[in-house]
Amino acid sequence: MTTSLAPFPVEKIRKEFPILTQKMNDQAFVYLDNAATSQKPLAVIERLSKFYRNENANIHRGVYTFSQNSTRECEEAREKIQHFLNAKESAEIIFVRGATEAINLVAATFGRKFLKKDDEILISEIEHHANIVPWQQLAEEKGLKLRVIPVKDNGELDLEAYEKMLGPRTYLVAITQVSNSLGTINPVREMIKAAHHAGAVVLVDGAQAVPHMKVDVQDLDCDFYVFSGHKVYGPTGVGVLYGKRKHLEAMPPYQTGGDMIESVTFEKTTFAKIPAKFEAGTPAFAEIIGLGTAIDYLKSLGLDEINRYEHELLEYATEKLSKIPGLTIIGTAPDKASLISFELEGIHPHDVGTVLDQYGIAVRAGHHCAQPTMKRFGVPATTRASFAFYNTKAEIDVLVKGIEKVIQVFK
């Protein structure tokens, strides 16, 4: 006998996201651009509002109560994220502006200090520009070799090719856990193991993974892990760099100034210990606190439950979209997060997006900051629908009707 799982309470959850009752172009707002940014639950909106109304005070060094409270709340948020990622200690959690800044930080500090001429950096063919350009710049500056792990026609990485590329010259592997343009979930745990076997350090771009699945940085054994707050139901302007203590301690600071020093004289400055060493200047403290609330919210829903429900949405949408004549899904890896990139024969994605917009449907049309991926799949751009746990099958039906309308306009 099997016990059936309780259905995911999506209708109840939708009530917690005020924007979902909005209209766009006089139509019910169907938000399917979650891979670009997520909507915010009331808990986060109210936490920010309460903070700014009643609690606002800068962190650190304040002797008065409100400042001490802010400082404590920020540190609590750091601990929440530590547990969320299962990091060994909260000092390994560095607050940055977003995943992009986190990668730039690692490239500019770890990369600049340790990588030497002719060392190799491996990235994959399905990276976001944020996980390409910082390495490319570093490679140019230091005479490194940037090598690209190829992707197969279905959107899976070619792991055999990857293993062959790993070698004594590989210093760093920088890979995404989930592709933002195809949805592919990469087997990063196995990839990290292989990289470590070859003596390489691994950075994982988790921007598209953290909203959808449980992440355990100790189990993955990654050296660095990065994500953005706004994609995980938190505020904009805050993100996280996780790094193993040994790396963070060996790295020079990224930016210098206030809050990251131990002592300053005009002759010499000694830097603070981690995490403060990497947090120069006033951070986005209200947003950090809001991100902590977002993490609490996600935990209250349960990442496994979210994952299961989103997978249901993905399967439903894949089945429905596959039936539309002239529609080709780009990225059909067996293991995918809840997003679908597609092409409509003879219709440019921007025309698709414009028509869908008039039906209240928000999708992304373009290259998704992944031009090399687009080139690999021979398309200038795709239309991308990405789903969150507050989306419904009924909304996918609206998308399907919208696409049928697009085809009708351009037939």
């Binding site: 139509q27 025309d351 008039q358 751009a381 306009v409």
Partner: protein, 157 residues
């Protein structure tokens, strides 16, 4: 679907525009062109090459284009092909200026509609501000091609 959205879409994607998108005119490279330019909007991926063959007095005798992009950019280019052959550089420039005014000016009057002729079907683009650059791309490319020293790459983003 409320009528508003449908009306706007019908204004944007008029039959003539859809027809030019499907069957672009002069969609070819002109091998012996003596003026050309490349128009590219990297963010949205519209990407066209424009070729002109001018005679000794500067009149455009032949025009052609190649490339790819959305329905608005492609039909704008295709309709341009039907309008600029036989025009002098000055006349083509004047038409370009009027067309840009149709897309981005504060208002459109009958005089302007008359001046742009069949390009007036792009008036609906005004309701879609993010798509203005699509309609304008090939005309900025023309502007560049007509210069004595083309910059070789133009963008309207």
């Amino acid at each position: 679907m409320i009528p508003g959205g449908e009306v706007k879409l019908n204004d944007l994607y008029q039959e003539v525009i859809l027809d030019h998108n499907k069957r672009p005119r002069n969609f070819k490279k002109i091998e012996d062109a003596n003026a050309s330019s490349h128009g590219k909007n990297p963010l949205c991926g519209d990407d066209y090459y424009l070729y002109l063959k001018k005679d000794t007095s500067g009149v455009i005798r032949e025009a052609g284009f190649t490339g790819q992009g959305c329905a608005i950019s492609k039909s704008s280019a295709s309709i341009m092909m039907t309008l600029i052959e036989g025009k002098s550089a000055v006349e083509a420039e004047k038409l370009k200026d009027a067309f840009i005014k149709l897309l981005t000016g504060d208002s459109v009057d009958e005089a302007l509609r008359a001046e742009v002729g069949k390009l007036k079907i792009f008036e609906g683009v005004r309701q879609f501000p993010v798509r203005v650059k699509c309609a304008a791309l090939i005309w900025r490319t023309l502007e560049d091609a007509l210069k004595n020293n083309s910059t070789q790459e133009v963008s309207t983003e």
